[in-house]
């Protein structure tokens, strides 16, 4: 296996681990907040003037990527021989990364547009563009995950080995 590839992979893994730690912390806080606030809302019915902000579902998609648990049709893993399947996995990961790069870019454009024209008091004192920052952040993060997976499966394919899933070494 090539040295720069290994270096790149380790670098991405470091960032990946940091992101993971951040995500888990944020998720726990969010869940606590969702349960707490909703129950409080029942008790204090009309203290709240409007809905609460829940811009977090994309964060969870990032976790799903990490766990290699996306909904997919996957007939190939049963039909394709292992040697070809290794390369298919590489192709799949980089394709997904490519799509997510485009989505990230579109999301950045969307947030820019919201900052220029959007509602500056959307929810909980935050502007719409601030709430929607979740989209580029999440897609950026998913891209990174797919890249990480792509690099790992590329190394595995070059070495002629199989990998189980992203989480195996995470």
């Amino acid at each position: 296996m090539s040295e720069p590839l290994g270096w790149l992979s380790r670098g991405i893994q470091q960032i990946g681990r940091l992101l993971e730690w951040l995500e888990e912390g944020v998720l726990l806080l969010l869940i606590a907040a969702m349960i707490g606030l909703a129950c409080l809302q029942i008790v204090l019915r009309d203290v709240w003037g409007g809905g609460l902000s829940w811009a977090d579902p994309l964060l969870r998609a990032v976790v799903a990527t990490k766990m290699d648990k996306h909904v997919s049709i996957d007939l190939a893993s049963h039909l394709v021989p292992k040697s070809i399947f290794r390369w298919l996995r590489v192709f799949r990961s980089f394709f997904a990364a490519g799509v997510c790069v485009v989505l990230t870019w579109m999301a950045i454009d969307f947030v820019r547009q919201e900052a220029l024209h959007g509602n500056d008091q959307a929810m909980a004192g935050l502007a719409s563009w601030q709430l929607n920052l979740i989209f580029p952040l999440a897609f950026g993060s998913i891209t990174l995950r797919f890249l990480l997976g792509g690099v790992r499966s590329l190394r595995a394919a070059l070495a002629g080995k199989d990998i189980r899933s992203f989480e195996a070494t995470a």
Partner: protein, 316 residues
């Protein structure tokens, strides 16, 4: 004659929350037919009804990127972008549709300017009509209003229980809320009337909207086409207002037939509410929710009208 086959040079994709077959859709189609005919098919339309393009916010976003060229917006939705458009929604502002028409006519150029500044063109105003307090127990005093468990769309000046529209009916059924605000026609469409037996006969507020195009698309039109479209909008959407008011009247008759009672608010109740509005609500809104200038213009127009026709005071 073969204009139907040729692709229009200026295509306007228009979205609205109003469903297919509604009065809104009917009048828009008349407007569209006239514009297509008078432009010899150079102008074309695609109409997306029933909210398939999303709510007002999504529609505005799609206009920004050019997927849509226009939309029928509600005041609540588009005033996120053009705050001054909110001014006519101040509670208890109008007592009759005559007052509404006079003020709307006077404010229209100011609204148009405010829309222009956001790269939008306001072609016509539309309305839901007067919105009333509807409740399962009579609400005629401030104490009763305060004690009621009410739901209202935002910006109505009452502390509402946060609910999404589909939740309102089920919450009425379970008794989680017992008071809502809606127009006569709206309360039938949304079925809320099945759970509200009383309507307080003073309009709580006025609900309206507008036909809005994006400036970039509108600016591409040759001047004579643009002028033709503006006058066609004026003509057909004036007809829409008449029809909306008629369907509200018919809805009121239907409501009465279904055993719904109109109750009158006590005189001091109204005075108390007006005092709260003028001393607390309005000072908080002016300069924040809408500009001082537009508020001044609205109150001046209303005062002028009332001075000239003291008889036009009673609510419809």
């Amino acid at each position: 004659p073969s204009r139907a086959e040729a692709a229009p040079r200026y295509l306007f994709k228009i979205a609205t929350l109003a469903p297919d077959g509604s009065v809104w859709a009917r009048h828009f189609q008349e407007f569209q037919n006239e514009v297509i005919a008078k432009s010899n098919g150079e102008i074309g339309f695609k109409l997306y009804m029933g909210g398939v393009m999303g709510d007002d916010r999504a529609m505005y976003r799609k206009m920004r990127i050019g997927q849509l060229q226009g939309g029928g917006f509600t005041m609540t939705g588009i005033s996120e972008t053009v705050p001054d458009f909110r001014v006519m929604a101040i509670p208890f502002l109008f007592r009759s549709y005559a007052e509404v028409d006079r003020v709307a006519e006077g404010l229209f150029p100011l609204f148009q300017k405010a829309f222009q500044e956001k790269d939008l063109v306001l072609l016509a105003m539309t309305e839901v009509g007067f919105v009333y307090t509807m409740s399962s127990e009579p609400v005629t005093t401030v104490a009763q209003l305060r004690a009621s468990k009410c739901w209202a769309p935002e910006n109505m000046g009452v502390t509402p229980i946060p609910l999404s529209i589909p939740d309102v009916l089920s919450s009425l059924q379970t008794g989680m809320i017992n008071t809502v605000f809606n127009g006569f026609y709206g309360s039938i469409v949304l079925q809320w009337f099945t759970r509200t037996k009383y309507i307080t006969d003073t309009p709580f507020g006025y609900a309206y909207g507008g036909l809005v195009f994006s400036k970039s698309a509108f600016a591409k039109l040759p001047p004579q086409h643009a002028a033709m479209m503006e006058s066609a909008a004026k003509k057909h959407f004036a007809g829409l207002l008449i029809d909306t008011r008629r369907s509200n009247e018919e809805a009121l008759a239907t409501l009465k037939k279904n055993g719904i009672q109109l109750v009158s608010a006590e005189k001091e109740t109204l005075q108390q509410l007006l005092a709260v509005r003028d001393q607390k609500t309005v000072p908080r809104l002016v300069g924040v929710a809408f500009s001082k200038e537009i508020y001044a213009a609205a109150t001046r127009l209303l005062a002028d009208f009332r001075a000239k026709s003291p008889a036009g005071g009673a609510a419809k």
